[in-house]
């Protein structure tokens, strides 16, 4: 019987201790970030979707159309095309489409690129009502950015 009352008292006490802790935290500053109102800075290593890196002199993409990124991609979400042009050494990139609907942001493409032509972007506000919104034309994106 005495055990019952002992537990009753210590149990009730434990509830008040818990209430005290939550009460204390109630008056502490807010730790959550008010996301749409506040902008979150991404860390330098943040892996967003990929983007082409422009050549510093010409502004054209550095890509030489070797196709290693396409080959390395586990989800087959990269498709690219290039053509031979007169007066230009190597191939010129004409099409670089990233199907972001199947991309899992693993970064195999960036790792397999030996020419340093692609990198991760810092975009994260990606939401859209249509599937087509996530088929990115990276050449177009590069031209818009510059």
């Amino acid at each position: 019987m005495s055990g019952y009352f002992k537990e009753l008292i210590s149990g009730t006490k434990s509830l008040f201790i818990g209430l005290g802790i939550t009460g204390k935290y109630f008056f502490e500053p807010v730790v959550t970030m008010q996301y749409p109102m506040e902008h979150v800075e991404m860390t330098p290593r943040f892996r967003g979707h990929i983007e082409l890196i422009p050549d510093e002199e010409t502004g054209e993409p550095k890509c030489v159309v070797c196709g290693m990124c396409q080959k390395g991609c586990p989800s087959k979400c990269i498709s690219l095309e290039g053509e031979k042009r007169e007066g230009v050494k190597g191939k010129v990139l004409t099409k670089y489409i990233l199907n972001f609907t199947t991309c899992s942001l693993c970064g195999q493409c960036v790792e397999s690129c030996k020419f340093g032509a692609i990198r991760f972007s810092k975009d994260y506000n990606l939401a859209g009502p249509r599937k087509e919104d996530f088929i990115f034309d990276l050449i177009k994106r590069l031209k818009e950015k510059s």
Binding site: G11, I17, Y25, R45, F46, G72, P74
Partner: protein, 373 residues
């Protein structure tokens, strides 16, 4: 007209579907419960609602292309799974890993283990009806995610380890950040203790509820905190040391009781042990390369059969590779801990009240995508 319609009223049972969409199952798990009033007569977990053929994918992708899959199985301790797969392939292909890379692996995996346990802690108490601790646990977990994001580049489905090393090196801000975080979490642990562990409602809900005997845990192949809560002293990190775990001084918390409270206590103690490992690893962190000098370009393991197990947050995760010498696996078998841990639910929950069975299920720490794979 007897038989079908003339059952004894006391013998009447009914079938209750728990899931596939039920907040207490934390995912698409369905449990078919045969109930006698409030009491469970029999429980049968029905799996496969989120089966994604990860093993088959492993046969069709190259060794490196399978890496991002690891994080999608157990999304709460993605790095442990990454580690298991990478270590298995390294064993198969005979790839040497630089010491610094091994230390980085241990540090990040243990941070990931703490974050997994913190999330479990919050969600478990939420299952039992307490909402506030979840928010406090997420506050701490968020700090770990920030730290891991700064090195790995993602917050949840990490893909940080590579064959022969890791993807990125850590910097001083990560080291100081981790030390500060450990100091912070050490200060918070007594708060969790007072708020949750000593709370009379939690004790009443967990003590002597859902006992799993040593024998039952063995029969179903339970590992991790479930087995350690039943008095089985087994941890792959200690009993079959891989990576550099043999160089650290840490304990394996074991509780003999086998009830839900024991499993709860094992995980809470493991957070402290993980912090000890991280501290020692940061102190001993050697300088050097994070990838082998001769870069691993093409992985082609010799023909053969290889196995490597690691201790993930939920138990022993094993990868069995059968290689035919090509650039993708002939067979990739993934042994996930929660699959075995869930299997004992049917037997363990027999004769329990439904709310108690949910406490038992919560204490098993289920991650459904990992069960189905």
């Amino acid at each position: 007209m007897n038989g079908l319609f003339q059952q004894d009223v006391n013998q009447e049972t009914f079938i209750l579907n728990l899931g596939p969409q039920h907040p207490a199952t934390h995912g698409v798990l369905r449990v078919k419960l045969e109930m006698d009033g409030e009491y469970i007569v029999d429980a049968e977990p029905v799996l496969g609602y989120i089966h994604r053929m990860h093993e088959k994918m492993g046969e069709n992708r190259t060794w490196a292309q399978f890496l991002p899959n690891c994080g999608r199985m157990d999304y709460l301790s993605a790095l442990s799974y990454n580690h298991g797969y990478v270590a298995a392939v390294e064993r198969a292909a005979g790839i040497e890993v630089p010491e610094r890379a091994e230390y980085l692996r241990v540090i990040t995996v243990e941070l990931n283990r703490i974050s997994s346990h913190l999330l479990w802690f919050g969600a478990f108490v939420l299952d039992l009806g307490g909402f506030t601790p979840l928010l406090y646990a997420f506050d701490d977990r968020e700090q770990i995610l920030d730290l891991l994001e700064s090195v790995t580049g993602s917050r949840l489905t990490y893909c940080y380890f590579r064959f022969g090393g890791v993807y990125n090196d850590i910097d001083d801000s990560f080291i100081t950040g981790t030390r500060e975080f450990i100091k912070r979490l050490r200060k918070r642990m007594p708060m969790y203790d007072a708020l949750v562990t000593k709370n009379i409602i939690l004790i009443k809900r967990l003590k002597d509820i859902g006992p799993i005997s040593k024998d039952m845990a063995r029969r179903y192949g339970a590992t991790g905190p479930v087995a350690r809560g039943s008095g089985i002293d087994f941890d792959v990190r200690k009993h079959e040391p891989y990576s550099v775990y043999s160089e650290f001084d840490f304990d394996i918390p074991v509780y003999e009781e086998g009830d839900s409270m024991a499993r709860y206590m094992v995980r809470m103690d493991e957070i402290e042990q993980s912090m000890r490992i991280i501290e020692q690893a940061l102190d001993k962190l050697p300088e050097g390369e994070i990838q082998p000098k001769k870069a691993v370009k093409l992985v082609k393991p010799e023909k053969g059969d290889y196995y490597h197990a690691v201790e993930a947050a939920r138990g022993s995760f094993g990868v069995r590779i059968v290689s035919d010498g090509t650039n993708s696996a002939y067979r990739l078998k993934l042994r996930s801990p929660t699959y075995s841990n869930l299997s004992l639910f049917g037997e363990a929950s027999r004769g329990m009240l439904l709310p108690d069975a949910l406490a038992l299920m919560g204490s098993l720490d289920l991650v459904i995508p990992e069960i189905d794979r």
